[in-house]
């Protein structure tokens, strides 16, 4: 394999925070110049990092990324050592997004391919309208817990929610959160429910896997529980292996509780609502 060409970009040179437009232009310039590993330091809320990039580069972000990280992109691996704001991986077309922290609402909206791994918690409408096509099957994994409308309108791919609490597992809080900075012995289980109301509302494709049990009252319209079996395990295996590797989390902990599988009632839930008889 070719030696990765590395470059480091400072998002706050001499204490002057770069506007997102300047920062993204620097990142795109680095991609154009053939750098395959781009480290961005001191990020504090700059938006659209990696927007529309098609090259298979790695962008490593230190700090908290702003809105729409990885929006419309199709190839880069973006690793955020910090939190990500809303809309991580909006309309994602490929690649891998990793967050060593929380990523709040609407993660992976309309994603068509690629994988999103978030160590911490999420807000509402995670994975809304995700879809799949042939070999393009997006996946979203949340290590922590999420809020309402998980997988609304979901049309393909998979969402996994694990319910693990990493808040005490970070060894040195003063350092950026990385794989090495996680103590696997201190990962805890969240107490209480890890998903909330309207799970899979209007879903018509794909599957949602929640570690442990999901009370029936949380299921959205047209979403049903289905048998979790060996073929599901096979499907989850590569994704969870990667998760385990990224976040220094023991595999047996991930598999310990078993999963609840949530599926659409049909691929055509709204088929009978409309009547186009000529009148």
């Amino acid at each position: 394999m070719e030696q990765a060409r590395k470059i480091t970009i400072d998002a706050e040179p001499q204490g002057n925070k770069l506007h997102y437009r300047e920062l993204n232009e620097k990142i795109r310039k680095a991609v154009r110049e053939g750098f395959s590993h781009i480290t961005v330091n001191n990020v504090s809320g700059q938006r659209f990092i990696g927007a529309g990039i098609k090259e298979r580069v790695t962008i490593e972000v230190y700090g908290d990324a702003g809105l729409d990280t990885g929006v419309f992109s199709e190839g880069p691996t973006i690793i955020i050592h910090g939190n990500s704001e809303y809309l991580l991986g909006n309309t994602l077309n490929g690649g891998e997004l990793v967050v060593y922290g929380d990523s709040w609402d609407i993660t992976g909206m309309g994603a068509r391919s690629g994988r999103i791994f978030v160590m911490g918690e999420g807000g509402s409408r995670i994975g809304i309208h995700m879809k799949e096509f042939k070999d393009k099957k997006p996946a979203i994994v949340y290590g922590g817990r999420v809020k309402q409308y998980l997988g609304e309108y979901m049309a393909g791919g998979m969402i996994i929610v694990l319910g693990l609490d990493y808040r005490d597992a970070v060894i040195d809080r003063k350092k950026p959160v990385t794989k090495e900075n996680i103590d696997p012995g201190k990962i805890k289980e969240y107490q209480g429910d890890i998903v909330q109301s309207y799970v899979g509302a209007g879903m018509h494709g794909g599957a949602i896997y929640v570690r442990g049990d999901v009370p029936d009252k949380y299921l959205g319209i047209y979403a049903v529980k289905d048998d979790y079996n060996e073929s599901d395990r096979e499907l989850l295996k590569p994704v969870l292996e990667r998760y385990s590797e990224l976040f220094n989390t023991p595999a047996d902990l991930l598999w310990k509780k078993g999963f609840t599988k949530i599926m659409p009632i049909s691929s055509r839930p709204f088929g009978k609502v409309y009547n186009s008889t000529p009148i």
Binding site: F48, V71, F72
Partner: protein, 511 residues
């Protein structure tokens, strides 16, 4: 179905067997199951006139002109309030319990503001231009314009600061968004070919661009809508990008391509599995506010490195003027306003027929509002829904639009007879259908010629009108409401339009 469930047919199809040459073309052409060919008696037979939708396909293809289609001769007892339209709607909903779905534009008899407007022409005090021999400029640029130009000299070269990407169109007329799926592959290809010949743009609709259409990419406006179907980094590099918030035929409503229409072709274009419903949610879930819209516009600008104009399409609704102002301030490069007569491939009838306002009023109001706020120059204003003729195009530009957008007129050019059966997917003319057999009825060479003819003819009409008004470039007509006069019944309407009543006198020395 019980006997009581049956409703009286709408149309009576019949054939004059003296004129009929028994060729059977009518039976072959009818996709609705009205006419069949009786092989034993060797003649066509009307088997179910109740299915007839007056699409005229059989009548047009009958070589003997033997077919007639009439209103069904069973009368409803006269009632000015409970019209057959209301009765039939109730019959159908009582039978099924479903939402009535329909196609094309609003068919109710609302007043049409266009028909209350006339325009000015040169007489004595200024000369008319002879458009056939003297230049009249109809080229139009789509995109954001700077407030002023700052030109600097750098190393002996002149550099212009703060310019924005613009797309040059040969005519202030574009074809609106129609997705592959709502219309057939052949219809879609015909429109793409026509706009690329004429030098204007066609909206891709929600659903991406088919791989075989990539050659026409620079004549498309890539739509980014709530379902995000077919949106990939490559797709964003059309001529322009349009974020679809609303559609005139169904403001506030999303879309649904039912699973049976998601054929292999559609599956490949949209990037979804065969036979699944393609749902476009009502809102875009990353846009709950003007600030969110600003974020998506900025994301699209970032993803395309500021090389492509990004616009927003909204339906004309009550507070359209402040909404438009918000969109301009959110950073949109162009704004498309779709009036309440705009068409659809499928929408709930109750929404199509009642939601939204006429585009004439919306455009006049938006243009004035943006002028008052000093931001009108920032945006290219596109207006459609529905422009029925070149005169509507002239009027909408004079009311304040930069560009007129047509879709229904284009479909009519390709054979549409306005039977409004689009959601059934059985279009006899091969337009609004995903059925590959029906779709092949549309001859691409023929249809693209018809569409380019229409676009050219309206542009030629515009040239003539501009010449007669003494205007040598269409830019000077935009928002030039002083050249319009109102002849309708409602003075208040004229005031909203900012148009004086016909015959108004200007007193010397002030109003």
């Amino acid at each position: 179905m019980q006997a009581q469930d049956k409703t009286i047919p709408r149309f009576k199809t019949s054939m004059d067997l003296d004129k009929c040459i028994k060729c059977g073309r009518c039976a072959v052409n009818c996709p609705f199951g009205v006419i069949e060919f009786d092989r034993e008696q060797k003649k066509p037979v009307v088997v179910n006139t109740g299915n007839c939708v007056a699409c005229q396909r059989c009548a047009v293809y009958c070589p003997g002109e033997a077919i007639s289609i009439e209103n069904y001769p069973v009368a409803y007892a006269p009632h000015a309030n409970w019209t057959p339209w209301h009765l039939r709607g109730i019959f159908e909903q009582a039978r099924t319990g479903g939402i009535l779905t329909t196609g094309m534009g609003n068919d109710r008899a609302y007043p049409i503001v266009f028909d209350y407007l006339v325009w000015d022409a040169c007489q004595v005090t200024n000369p008319a231009i002879d458009a056939l021999r003297e230049p009249v400029e109809t080229r139009t640029f789509l995109g954001r314009k700077p407030r002023n130009l700052s030109i600097r000299e750098v190393d002996g070269k002149y550099v212009m600061d703060d310019t924005y990407p613009n797309v040059m169109l040969s005519t202030p007329l574009t074809v609106g968004h129609m997705s592959l799926g709502s219309i057939s592959y052949n219809a879609y290809t015909s429109i793409l070919r026509a706009v690329s010949e004429v030098g204007t743009l066609f909206g891709t609709g929600e659903g991406g661009l088919h791989p075989s259409h990539q050659a026409y990419k620079k004549n498309t406006i890539s739509e980014v809508a709530s379902g995000r179907f077919g949106v990939s980094p490559d797709y964003l590099y059309g001529a322009a990008i349009e974020i679809k918030i609303g559609q005139g035929a169904k403001p506030g409503h999303g879309g649904q391509l039912p699973g049976e229409k998601v054929t292999q072709l559609i599956s490949d274009t949209r990037g979804i599995p065969l036979g699944t419903d393609a749902l476009s949610p009502n809102p875009q879930h990353d846009i709950y506010s003007i600030e969110d819209l600003k974020t998506l516009i900025a994301a699209l600008h970032e993803a395309t490195e500021y090389t492509i104009p990004v616009g927003v399409k909204v339906a004309a609704v009550n507070n359209i003027a402040p909404i438009a102002s918000g969109i301009v301030r959110a950073g949109a490069d162009f704004l498309t306003i779709d009036g309440f007569r705009g068409a659809t491939g499928a929408a709930p009838r109750v929404i199509r027929d009642n939601a939204g306002i006429p585009v004439e009023l919306a455009v006049a109001s938006v243009d004035q509002h943006l002028r008052n706020e000093g931001i009108r120059h920032q945006i290219t204003l596109i207006a459609g829904g529905s422009l029925r003729s070149s005169s509507d195009l002239v009027k909408i530009i004079a009311l304040g639009a930069d560009i007129g957008m047509i879709s229904t007129a284009v479909l009519i050019a390709m054979g549409c007879r306005m039977c409004q059966q689009c959601p059934t997917g059985k279009c006899a003319w091969g337009i609004a259908t995903g059925d590959p057999v029906l779709g092949k009825r549309m001859d691409i060479n023929w249809a693209s010629k018809r569409v380019s003819n229409l676009l050219r003819a309206w542009t030629a009409d515009l040239d003539e009108v501009l010449g007669a008004m003494g205007i040598d470039a269409v830019d000077s007509l935009i928002g030039n409401r002083d050249r319009l006069r109102y002849i309708g019944p409602n003075p208040h309407e004229a005031k909203i339009l900012g148009v004086q009543h016909a015959g108004s006198r200007v007193e010397i020395g002030g109003e």
